[in-house]
């Protein structure tokens, strides 16, 4: 008897949960946010998390989307392509989100976006810079950041014109993003007649690059370029400096995080480290209020935080203009410019920004700043 009662109780409970779910759907819309919220690259995931969370709170406070409030569903891909596909399937199948902001790593965004495309869901990445992301003829993909070929061009020109580099070592982390960026820079260098003296890959998660650093030291380069993320970049720089290789170290947007200082072993090692990143979003007039509000919460909106904020804004503007139709929203973004926290943004037919603004930054101590 008692058993039956329990069964009945469970049944009632299940029904009410299901019904509750149905009723709740009416006044909220679900938007997925995906990125590496755990793992080695969680610092970047946090930028996406904080950026979208703040944007959703601000939009909801201002009345939501067509009278409905936004509910964010977070999916953790740990920057692992396999997990990214699982997350994409969960967001589309189980959570039934109508748009996705993310992912962070290009190697995650590219396979995941195929799944979003199959479900006709709008996908805006705030940070994946690999060209392939928008080069596959998909209608649903957009990014609020630049592309690695643009980034590589800025780095390449800096190496040639400012540093006057003749002997360049190019390293990468064998990942879609890292190797793509290294190749883009290599192409620009080669076109200007500068051939690299070493082009090699390191393994993500490895800690000891001393043997490679010794080889680099023997080659006597003017500059070392690295395509990859801050954990490996930090260890490389530290081991280079320990062995007395003091040449400039240049990387891309993969080291735009305060966690780089942790990886590198302290502020004393960040000297002579440069990187390419979009023109400082914190200085934009349009973002002043949001930046202030982040700082009031005790968070420094570094790196891709504002890009993520802008990505959610773009999604929401497009959705509200098209009556919450995700595929129509994608068409809307291609034809119209939207005003975001990072200023007026417009996209070309592939989903790339029409204007890219990569500049060089230099690390100094535990902070970085745009080069004049």
């Amino acid at each position: 008897m008692a058993k039956n009662l329990i069964k009945f109780g469970l049944l009632v409970g299940t029904i009410s949960v299901v019904l509750g779910g149905c009723f709740k759907k009416d006044d909220t819309i679900k938007i997925g946010v995906a990125g590496p919220f755990t793992g080695q690259y969680a610092a970047f995931g946090e930028q996406i998390h904080k950026g979208t969370e703040k944007a959703a709170a601000d939009i909801n406070a201002a009345g939501g989307v067509n009278g409905k409030s936004i509910e964010l569903v977070f999916g953790d891909d740990a920057c692992d392509p396999k997990q990214a596909v699982t997350v994409a399937n969960k967001l589309t199948g189980q959570d039934k989100v109508i748009a996705v902001v993310g992912h962070f790593c290009s190697s995650s965004s590219i396979p995941a976006s195929e799944i979003y495309a199959a479900s006709g869901i709008l996908n805006v990445t705030p940070a994946s810079t690999n060209p392939t992301y928008t080069e596959r003829g998909l209608d649903n993909v957009f990014r609020t950041c630049g592309r690695d070929d643009q980034q590589g061009a800025v780095a390449g020109n800096y190496l040639i014109n400012k540093l006057n580099a003749k002997k360049v070592v190019i390293l990468h982390d064998k990942d879609t993003y890292g190797q793509g960026l290294a190749d883009a820079t290599k192409k620009v260098l080669n076109e200007s007649g500068v051939n690299e003296i070493l082009y090699e890959g390191v393994t993500r998660g490895d800690k000891d690059f001393n043997a490679l650093v010794t080889k680099i030291k023997g080659l006597g380069p003017d500059v070392v370029y690295f395509g990859g993320l801050h954990t490996e970049a930090g260890l490389l720089v530290r081991q280079m400096r320990e062995q007395g290789v003091d040449v400039p170290f240049i990387s891309g947007d993969g080291i735009v995080s305060q966690d780089f200082v942790i990886s590198v072993g302290g502020a004393q090692y960040t000297k002579n480290v440069f990187m390419t990143f979009g023109s400082d979003p914190l200085k934009l007039e349009t973002g002043k209020k949001v930046v202030e509000s982040f700082k009031d919460d005790g968070y420094q909106p570094e790196g891709y935080t504002l890009y993520s904020y802008a990505a959610l804004q773009a999604v929401v503007i497009a959705l509200s203009a098209t009556d919450l139709d995700s595929s129509a929203a994608a068409m809307y973004l291609k034809d119209n410019s939207v005003s975001t926290v990072m200023g007026e943004k417009s996209w070309d037919s592939k989903g790339d920004l029409t204007v890219s603004d990569y500049v060089m930054y230099a690390w100094d101590g535990d902070s970085y700043s745009e080069l004049e």
């Binding site: 919220f37 755990t38 793992g39 080695q40 690259y41 969680a42 610092a43 946090e46 064998k174 090699e200 890959g201 390191v202 393994t203 998660g205 490895d206 800690k207 000891d208 690059f209 001393n210 043997a211 490679l212 010794t214 080889k215 030291k217 023997g218 006597g220 801050h230 954990t231 930090g234 260890l235 530290r238 320990e242 062995q243 007395g244 966690d259 942790i262 990886s263 590198v264 072993g265 302290g266 004393q268 090692y269």
Partner: protein, 307 residues
């Protein structure tokens, strides 16, 4: 060129000693109960977190010379990792001692995942780090033409010295103490040792404690050397150390150390002189080579079929 060879030797020795220290845990456990403790790499990972926490706590209480700070850290980390090794054996492996080999293996993988997630939840998933404590080094050799020199950093000196001291102590314990004799007899024949009055349960616990303690020493050294770590470092370190143990001949303590050094040296020289891309391919290729031509490893003894 000479400086490069010396430098790569130093790099390889430092890397190899750490592989060796972690490999001891695999090889001793295998030698005594014939199972591969996959959670061993995660004990080492846990040690890295304890290292960072102890360094932070100690240096907030009083400022002191680095040597003293590190010694205190080792004194805190080793008992904690050893305790984890002990508890691990008691709750996860002991109940399965007479079950199939496969059950223990799967339990080990389960414990590895448990430890990873436990650290991830309790300590956060982000990359953690400690500030650089020791910088600078000795110049070993300067090339006359290029004026490039081979440098041995003080950290590498610390790694080599600490590893050497730990190994000598372990060798002494195993060779010349009553505890060591009990370990060796249990390794040879568990049932016979038990009949002769050796408390084999206690010996097995001790082996886990020694293995985890040495992993703790290794984690202090690694954290000192590389500075940053996360909850996943145990996996890669574990695979490499396990390879070292197999190369040296699993079951043999000296073999584990030799295997570690061999692996460290071959990785260093291969990525330094040939290509860093294929470093791991070479290391694991070496493993396959050994498995095919000398399956018992460098110092392993061939399995004698008992009739």
């Amino acid at each position: 060129m000479m400086w490069e060879i010396i430098q790569q030797t130093v790099n390889g020795l430092a890397l190899g000693s750490i592989y060796g220290l972690i490999a001891i845990g695999y090889t001793m456990v295998y030698g005594i109960i014939g199972m591969i403790n996959f959670a061993h790499g995660d004990i080492y990972m846990l040690g890295a977190y304890v290292t960072a926490i102890s360094i932070a706590v100690i240096s907030s209480i009083a400022s002191m010379p680095v040597v003293l700070l590190l010694s205190l850290t080792v004194l805190i980390v080793v008992p904690i990792t050893a305790l984890h090794g002990y508890v691990l054996e008691k709750i996860a492996y002991k109940p399965l001692r007479h079950a199939q080999k496969l059950s223990a293996l799967i339990t080990a993988i389960g414990m590895s995942l448990f430890l990873q997630n436990y650290i991830q939840i309790s300590q956060g998933a982000r990359n953690q780090g400690i500030p650089t404590l020791i910088s600078g080094g000795f110049t070993l050799w300067t090339d006359k033409i290029s004026s490039l020199s081979a440098v041995m950093s003080y950290t590498q000196v610390v790694i080599l010295v600490v590893t050497l001291v730990s190994m000598l102590t372990l060798a002494y314990v195993i060779k010349s103490t009553s505890l060591g004799r009990q370990c060796r007899s249990t390794q040879q024949d568990q049932m016979m040792s038990a009949m002769l009055g050796v408390n084999t349960d206690r010996v097995i616990s001790v082996v886990f404690i020694i293995g985890a303690g040495l992993a703790g020493v290794g984690s202090v050294l690694v954290t000192l050397n590389y500075g940053s770590f996360d909850f996943f470092i145990g996996f890669i370190a574990g695979i490499k150390a396990f390879t070292a143990a197999v190369l040296g001949g699993i079951g043999s303590v000296t073999g584990a150390m030799l295997g570690g050094l061999l692996l460290g040296m071959s990785e260093s020289f291969f990525s330094g002189l040939v290509n860093a891309d294929y470093k791991d391919v070479f290391a694991f290729g070496l493993l396959i080579f050994f498995m095919v031509f000398k399956p018992t490893g460098l110092l392993g003894t061939p399995e004698v079929t008992k009739v």
